[in-house]
């Protein structure tokens, strides 16, 4: 069974009386442990596609499946649960909470997972901070970190719930190319080690080459699927 499956997904944005199509009939399957990228120019529909897979938005028509869950049939509460337990997010602008330190930022999603004990919470945070190489920075505030370090915190926060899928929307866009590659390499290592499915978007050719598969989007359609490895 696919980890992510989209069937004939259309997404239109209503701007006043005008309907602007963002996605036009997307069909895709992503398997468990995949490391894939959505590539395309700005406005090609990458972020919209990630938002739909991430249960942040509803398709206008079509079906989105996460495992055996038909996402388009879920209510708000179930969508929250799905995002919390099955999906991790890494954002272009890092989206860390500025008043919280690194440890507390990583801890955020675990605070609402009542079944996780305090002890396990601590263990998980320390494990993922170590995995992203930030154990020594746990007490720092985001403002005291470099862009690359901030994105590493965001990666740790996305992974700490042990999600099925990590979605990263242009994770390297606000980083220099060297740091960008480091972040992708980090994600790849975790993908190999933890078997977590990674789906990220980029328009940087160097970055997209790190993926196993590339979905090329043009004007809301998948024009080509490129298998790298």
């Amino acid at each position: 069974m696919s980890t992510v499956s989209l069937q004939q997904v259309f997404k239109n944005y209503e701007l006043g009386k005008t309907s602007v199509p963002a996605l036009r009939g997307i069909d895709l399957e992503i398997q468990e442990g995949d490391f894939v990228t959505m590539a395309g120019a700005s406005g090609s529909g990458k972020s919209t596609l990630l938002n739909l897979i991430g249960c942040l938005d509803h398709p206008t028509t079509g079906e989105v499946w996460i495992g055996d869950t038909r996402v388009s049939k879920l209510d708000d509460k179930q969508l929250n649960e799905t995002r919390l337990r099955q999906i991790g997010f890494v954002f272009q602008s890092f989206n860390l909470i500025p008043v919280l330190n690194v440890y507390e930022n990583v801890e955020l999603p675990l605070l609402i997972m009542k079944e996780i004990s305090k002890k396990e919470r601590k263990q998980r945070i320390n494990y993922f901070l170590k995995a992203v190489g930030l154990s020594a920075f746990a007490d720092r505030k985001p403002s005291e970190l470099s862009g690359g370090q901030r994105q590493r915190v965001a990666v740790a926060r996305a992974l700490v719930t042990k999600p099925r899928i990590v979605l990263a929307d242009e994770p390297t866009a606000n980083l220099d190319s060297k740091t960008g590659i480091e972040i992708i390499d980090l994600m790849q290592q975790i993908n190999e080690h933890e078997k977590t499915t990674f789906i990220f978007s980029t328009h940087d050719p160097k970055v997209m080459q790190r993926a196993n598969r590339i979905f090329h989007l043009i004007d809301g359609k998948i024009e080509k699927v490129e298998n790298i490895r």
Binding site: L56, L84, E170
Partner: protein, 400 residues
């Protein structure tokens, strides 16, 4: 202005105003009690509460306690341990007369040794009633000025006796002044001795209009019940002797106090409405500033309700910190002012006295706590829900 600053100001002002109102209310009640009503009145059954508080002393029919009843009541009063002091009184409607100038008034004859009336009647000139001299009067200063009399002058008082006969008696002005805090109610009583009043009512020895009783602090209601029970056991039920507390007597004096208090509470109400509007506005602003943060929290799995709880939790923390600061500074200032006193001039002194000693009332802290927390939480609920209801995809799109 930040939310914290506003909570601090609201706490401080509320504490100050509620203490101000409480002090004013207590002072006015005390002034009425000391000058006119006592804490409890005992009088002939069948009279209305209003009759006994009427400032003009309008007695449709002279109601009084006969000597035998008065003796029985006095025995009961002497046996009760909750009574601080009491006095027999004879009140009557009368006309002050000096030459061709006349002034209608209420004459209150009482025991000149009673301390309460001395606390209420602030002397401008002269002295209080001398227990030995029975033909002295204390005149309100404005009456003395109108009639052109000074301390030591004689003045005539005319009244209708209980048998509806005309009575005229001459008195010496012992002192002039006014009843503290009650000038704005046009309350201008003339005080004299019991014997002095007897001459104006035609009462025989032992006959009086009423007793007024001063109870130990906080015991007035219970004392009233105990006295009614004791009187009833002695055959003096409410048809024969009426027992009323100051609160029960009501009358327009209490209504006027309620109006003053109402005006001040209306002012507090306006303050609270402004506070609510500002809090709503501030929370909306906080929501806007933290739109990206809220979007992130929604994206990583937080529900709208959980984000609302985070907002409310922050508001409770901010409210608690600044409430405590406002409370400490407010109490400190009130205690300082209660020591120093605030000198007042006309027209405020008519209601608040020449020097207003604001008193800190601990029970007001709870009221202020309820109001501040209630308003802070209620007024932040809607903007918190609204702010937490953002579409995460939309906010993340704005942030990227």
């Amino acid at each position: 202005m930040s939310l914290g600053t506003f909570i601090f100001l609201a706490t401080f002002l509320l504490l100050f105003f509620t203490s101000f109102i409480s002090t004013m209310h207590n002072d006015l009640n005390k002034a009425i009690s000391n000058s006119l009503s006592g804490d409890i009145q005992l009088r002939q059954g069948g009279t209305t509460e209003g009759d006994m508080l009427s400032l003009k002393g309008k007695w449709g029919q002279m109601a009084y306690l006969d000597a035998k009843t008065a003796v029985m009541i006095e025995t009961l009063l002497n046996e009760n341990g909750s009574i601080e002091s009491y006095t027999k009184r004879i009140r009557n409607d009368a006309m002050l007369s000096k030459g061709s100038t006349k002034q209608h008034t209420m004459v209150i004859g009482l025991d000149p040794n009673l301390e309460a009336y001395k606390e209420a009647f602030i002397l401008s000139e002269g002295s209080y009633l001398n227990p030995v001299r029975t033909n002295e009067v204390l005149l309100p200063k404005n009456y003395a000025d109108k009639l052109g009399v000074k301390v030591g002058d004689s003045i005539d008082l005319m009244a209708a006796t209980k048998d509806n006969q005309e009575a005229v008696a001459s008195f010496i002005v012992a002192g002039t002044g006014q009843v503290d805090r009650l000038a704005s109610f046009s309350f201008y009583p003339v005080y004299t001795s019991l014997q002095g009043s007897q001459a104006l009512t035609g009462f025989q020895d032992g006959e009086i209009t009423d007793f007024i009783v001063y109870a130990s602090k906080g015991k007035s209601a219970q004392l009233s019940k105990d006295l009614q029970t004791a009187l009833s056991i002695n055959g003096l039920d409410s048809t024969k002797v009426k027992v009323s507390t100051l609160k029960e007597m009501g009358g327009f004096l209490n209504s006027i106090i309620s109006i003053y208090v109402g005006i001040l509470y209306a002012f507090i109400g306006i303050l609270l409405v402004i506070m609510a509007i500002l809090i709503i506005n501030l929370i909306f602003m906080m929501g806007l500033e933290r739109r990206s943060e809220i979007g992130t929290l929604r994206a990583i799995g937080y529900s709208r309700d959980q984000i609302v709880m985070i907002f409310l939790g922050e508001i409770v923390i901010i409210t608690t910190i600044f409430f405590v600061i406002g409370l400490i500074i407010g109490i400190a200032l009130i205690l300082l002012l209660s020591q120093l006193g605030i000198p007042l001039s006309a027209p405020l002194d008519l209601v608040l006295g020449k020097v207003f000693n604001i008193q800190f009332d601990g029970s007001q802290v709870f009221l202020v706590f309820i109001i501040i927390y209630g308003f802070a939480l209620v007024s932040s609920l809607y903007p918190s829900i609204k702010s937490a209801s953002v579409n995460p995809a939309e906010t993340l799109r704005e942030g990227s």
